[in-house]
């Protein structure tokens, strides 16, 4: 016997599921989502990965990749100094080429947000469209194993320190044991914790950690659940679990975003993170985005790469295009 608990009245869920928003209506809705054709999905992703992107298209793609990067450092050994050098790299990725665009955001642990904000100075977007955002991982990242009170405090703390974006993790244990209501309520509560003093919200990215969800069906359900609960972005992985982002999983999440857009007209962002190290891989993602949800999604507020080493590879490729000869690791910064 299941206890039919009412779940938090998130606006999107009310509109799609109706006013009678209980755990069982949510579960019935999510379980009613058709299963994923795994073979078809992987073939589609593989086919999209074979496009040949050269010369001017490649130059455009490389610049766009940089503009879509959340430059990330999420190590136990992070220091304020390391965050400052990360910010310096975010602002001037390639000192030898002033035409290099800036990245979309820097992504750090919550306690490093003040240092990132300080280092960005006037380059910090601080809620405007111009400049570089500060994203903070929160809710006991990467495991998510903490009480709700701790997760909310973690989130509110980062928002108060000036984070523009919050990357939260879902409770995979609860999701896999079918307690969708619990996962849903947590996302709703964290979304509320993203509210700033002036009433605006920090953007909420919901990390599904697809490497722990085991099946494509689960990824599709978790994507719907995260969107219904109010996530602005759905993100594949923490980067701490293998496999992290893969092309098929990202394609699947983009399809959910496309379906949601058709259903409601709303635009949800997608962020593959972890394991994308080469420009070649990143270009495959750009192709997949453009072919699935449209080129309109290739903007920082709708698509991001969570990456650290990807940026250097893109810079090497840009140097190759500019100079005509292959470049080397001596010509980019050591991070």
């Amino acid at each position: 016997m299941t206890i039919d608990r009412a779940v938090s009245p998130a606006q999107r869920a009310l509109e799609v599921l109706g006013d009678d928003l209980t755990e069982s209506t949510l579960k019935r809705y999510l379980d009613g989502i058709p299963g994923v054709d795994a073979v078809g999905l992987e073939q589609r992703a593989a086919a999209l990965g074979t496009r040949s992107i050269k010369t001017t298209s490649k130059a455009w793609a490389l610049d766009r990749i940089i503009e879509l990067i959340d430059l990330t450092t999420l190590e136990g050994a992070d220091t304020p100094g390391k965050v400052r050098s990360l910010v310096a790299k975010a602002l001037v990725p390639d000192a030898g080429d002033p035409s290099t665009p800036r990245v979309a955001a820097v992504c750090v642990y919550g306690d490093m947000v003040p240092y990132a904000v300080e280092a960005l100075g006037t380059a910090h977007s601080a809620g405007t469209d111009e400049g570089v955002n500060v994203a903070a991982v929160a809710t006991a990242f990467p495991s998510g194993r903490a009480s709700l009170a701790v997760k909310l405090a973690d989130t509110a703390d980062a928002v108060a320190a000036g984070a523009d974006e919050i990357d939260m993790v879902i409770d995979r244990g609860a999701f896999l044991s079918g307690r969708y209501g619990l996962v849903f309520d947590e996302i709703v509560a964290v979304k509320e914790a993203c509210r700033r003093a002036d009433g605006s919200f920090a953007h909420l990215k919901v990390i599904l950690e697809t490497g722990e969800l085991n099946t494509y069906d689960n990824v599709r359900r978790a994507s719907w659940l995260s969107i219904l609960a109010g996530g602005d972005f759905i993100k594949t992985s923490t980067g701490k679990v293998s496999p992290a982002a893969t092309l098929p999983v990202t394609l699947l999440m983009l399809e959910v975003v496309r379906d949601w857009n058709r259903l409601t007209g709303e635009k949800i962002g997608v962020k593959p993170a972890g394991g994308i190290r080469s420009s070649k891989d990143a270009i495959k993602y750009l192709v997949t985005v453009a072919e699935t949800v449209g080129e309109e999604w290739l903007q920082p507020h709708l698509f991001r790469f969570g990456a650290s080493s990807l940026l250097n590879d893109v810079l090497l490729q840009r140097q190759k295009l500019r100079t005509g000869h292959y470049s080397g690791a001596d010509y980019v910064t050591i991070d």
Partner: protein, 287 residues
């Protein structure tokens, strides 16, 4: 009557410890001096060269970090395995270069001798090329040679084995890793040598062998910013001055082309040409 059907060997590239075909899918015909077909060799492209440099770069820390004694042992092991496969080399040289069996045997002898000679230098060259410098103060001041990194080599074009060995071995001694473009006309011995290297405890990526057109590949290696040195010993027929100019853009160490039978003769200078000198100060005692 035997029903055996001869299985001809596919000669492929040697990159990162594996034997891939060229990413371009191209091959070219290798013939005897009389024009009879011998084999199809892979014709490497600039992207194969790029991949080879990536492999060589990744192998630098391991190979240069190994002790000099260990490097010497590994190189000596290569000579042992070479000796064991000499019949195959002799046979290939006879067919490739159209020389007599005794000339082929002499060439293999010379190649093995040179390899052993260089292997012996691995734990000795630093004593000769390094120095304790006199300084005015209570300090040790020591200069030691260190490998420069990734070396790109255009192997001598008129020799199947001994030219390749003479250019390859000295670059490896100090701990460099190598991308070598084999002789265009005689590439088969180079790939057979790669099979020896692959089974001689040499870590993957330390030697990468490309076959194909040096005129096509060498400019990409000369201008490659992740290549630290360029040995043009076999580039006499190419636009080698342009290659030197391209190499200067990224401050590479360069050895010029050499012609004739004495090209790349064994010399300590071929080892030290691809080293950098590090000088350190150390107190003789607490002041």
């Amino acid at each position: 009557m035997s029903n055996h059907v001869t299985v001809p060997k596919t000669y492929k590239l040697f990159v990162n410890g594996a034997f891939p075909r060229s990413e371009s899918g191209r091959v070219y015909e290798v013939t005897t001096p009389k024009g009879e077909f011998l084999a199809n060799a892979a014709q490497a492209s600039r992207k194969d060269a790029r991949d080879a440099v990536v492999a060589a770069r990744a192998a630098v820390s391991g190979w240069s970090g190994a002790t000099a004694y260990n490097r010497g042992q590994v190189l000596y092991r290569v000579a042992e395995v070479l000796e064991g496969r000499r019949a195959q080399f002799e046979d290939e040289i006879v067919r490739l270069q159209g020389v007599s069996a005794s000339a082929a045997r002499d060439q293999v002898d010379e190649a093995i001798d040179r390899w052993v000679w260089y292997a012996g230098w691995a734990d000795k060259y630093a004593q000769v090329a390094g120095n304790a410098n006199p300084v005015s103060g209570p300090y040790f001041n020591l200069s030691v040679p260190e490998p420069t990194g990734v070396v790109a080599i255009v192997a001598p074009q008129d020799s199947a084995l001994v030219g390749l060995v003479s250019a390859l071995a000295p670059a490896l001694v100090s701990g460099n890793t190598v991308v070598v473009i084999a002789s265009e006309a005689f590439p088969l011995s180079a790939i057979t040598l790669a099979e020896v290297l692959a089974t001689s405890d040499l870590p993957k990526g330390v030697v990468n062998v490309l076959t194909g057109s040096p005129a096509e590949i060498a400019p990409w290696l000369a201008s490659h910013a992740d290549v630290n040195a360029l040995d043009l010993v076999g580039a006499g027929a190419l636009e080698w001055i342009d290659l030197e100019i391209a190499a200067a853009e990224t401050l590479k160490r360069v050895l010029p082309p050499e012609d004739g039978p004495d090209a790349a003769a064994p010399a300590l200078g071929r080892i030290t040409a691809f080293t950098e000198t590090k000088t350190v100060w150390h107190t003789k005692s607490l002041i």
